[in-house]
């Protein structure tokens, strides 16, 4: 269960950091009329297309002790990113970024622009309009973003296999633990972990789908 707890901690942390990073990024993407916007959008969506081995490769080699970026990091923090919990957090931030940004952009874009215009006419600052109109109207999108990045990080495997080093309690996440149990033909242990992960993932996903369908909603409708 240590591995499951580690994965949950990792996923919660990554989802929290991603919200802080992704909300302003998505706001900017939803608002900007800049022609180069598509480049930023493509860069953010890269992890959807690229195999995790690409990210794992760069983390190991560019951020390893022989890469210049890695040397910088080493001088600053005293160890490389590989084999650390921080390393997993950094990798997951990249890896789950599109899962946070895309629902947010959709939510922000679907808010009626006339509401924001009316707020501006009535003298509200952009910050106030963002806080009091855009954010409350985008709550379902924000929840989706948080839950998806949590769930996606929980299920991460390839990058962790490449850069984790399988250290119990530090980088042995639940997906790696399951893999190890299967490889050692310990199917009973693999099954315990797999079922736990399956149930958690199903519960998490059905929660957001239920909320989006208004089957059950913690906040008043629009």
């Amino acid at each position: 269960m240590e591995a499951l707890w580690l994965s949950v901690r990792l996923a919660v942390l990554v989802a929290a950091i991603l919200l802080v990073v992704a909300v302003p990024l998505a706001y900017w993407l939803a608002q900007t009329a800049w022609r180069g916007k598509f480049l930023v959008e493509s860069a953010i969506s890269l992890p959807l297309v690229l195999p995790p081995t690409v990210l794992g490769f760069y983390l190991l080699v560019a951020l390893g002790a022989n890469g210049w970026l890695g040397k910088l990091w080493l001088a600053w923090f005293g160890h490389t990113l590989a084999f650390t919990f921080t390393g997993l957090v950094v990798a997951s931030l990249f890896y789950s970024l599109p899962f946070a940004v895309q629902p947010l952009v959709l939510a922000f874009e679907s808010v009626d622009p006339r509401l924001l215009a009316a707020a501006a006419v009535l003298g509200a600052s952009r910050w106030r309009a963002f806080r009091q109109i855009l954010l409350p109207l985008s709550v379902p999108g924000i929840v989706t973003a948080a839950v998806l990045s949590f769930a996606h990080t929980l299920g991460e495997f390839g990058v962790v296999l490449m850069v984790g080093g399988n250290i119990p309690g530090v980088t042995r996440t639940v997906s790696i633990d399951i893999y190890d149990h299967v490889q050692s033909l310990d199917y009973a242990a693999a099954n315990r972990m797999a079922i736990a992960l399956l149930l958690i993932s199903f519960a998490v996903l059905s929660t957001i789908y239920a909320m989006n369908r208004r089957v059950w909603s913690p906040w008043p409708g629009r």
């Binding site: 190991l60 160890h79 490389t80 490889q183 050692s184 033909l185």
Partner: protein, 269 residues
Amino acid sequence: MPARGCIFKCLQSLLLLLCVAIHLSAQKKQLRVAAASDLQTVMPEIAAAFQADSGHHAELIFGSSGSLFAQIQNGAPFDLFFSADSEFPAKLVQSGRAEPRSAVTYAVGTLVLWLPPGANCDPQAEQWRCLLKPEISRVAIANPAQAPYGRAAVQALQFARLYEQVRPKLVYGENISQTAQFAQSGNAQAGLLSLSQVHSPSLQGGRRWEIPRDAYPAIEQVAVVLTSAREKSAAQEFVQFVTRGRGRGLLEKSGFHLPDDAQPSTRHK
């Protein structure tokens, strides 16, 4: 037009060549060889030499002995299994997945302590003490549950009475190749690897110390022909090539010790 005529002729001969190639490859037998990761440097060379001699092409699949064992137990379509130990092949014989009479020790592996170039510890002089230095914050070993070299590394560390001290520094590679990669990329400052890997060009610059043989049980590497093999005679031929033919020399050159005589493994007759 002469130019067009030439293109046609070239295409024609290319097509003919292709047909011949396809015909030839269809005639020769294909072998699928599952091999432990410590063979990753030498096995391609052996397979190429085997093909030159016999005409049979051998496809190579690498992994930790444990994970290949698990795949074979679950019916992976391989013809041969070159393990890095003798236990996994013995278990395959027990479960009826491998031909009992085919088991043969083809090499004996050597565990080495390897430090990347520029490390400020000389493993020849300081031996195990290198691992205790504060600059060495990560030591890569293979996963002892799946990789025989990982098992040997843990046993050697225990023999040196250093296991508890070094354990917080240990990072685990999925197989011995990933372990080497961890050390080679400098993410780990030391690694317990196989001598055969240290012979490969990418690890040539580092410094190494061969762990004394009394520190760990001999890494007797056993090969078996699988019962599901489609080409049993070709598979047997490949094993012969490795244990008695030119494969022997190639194994020795790349850092393996050879069993005194390549008799069928005594452990599981």
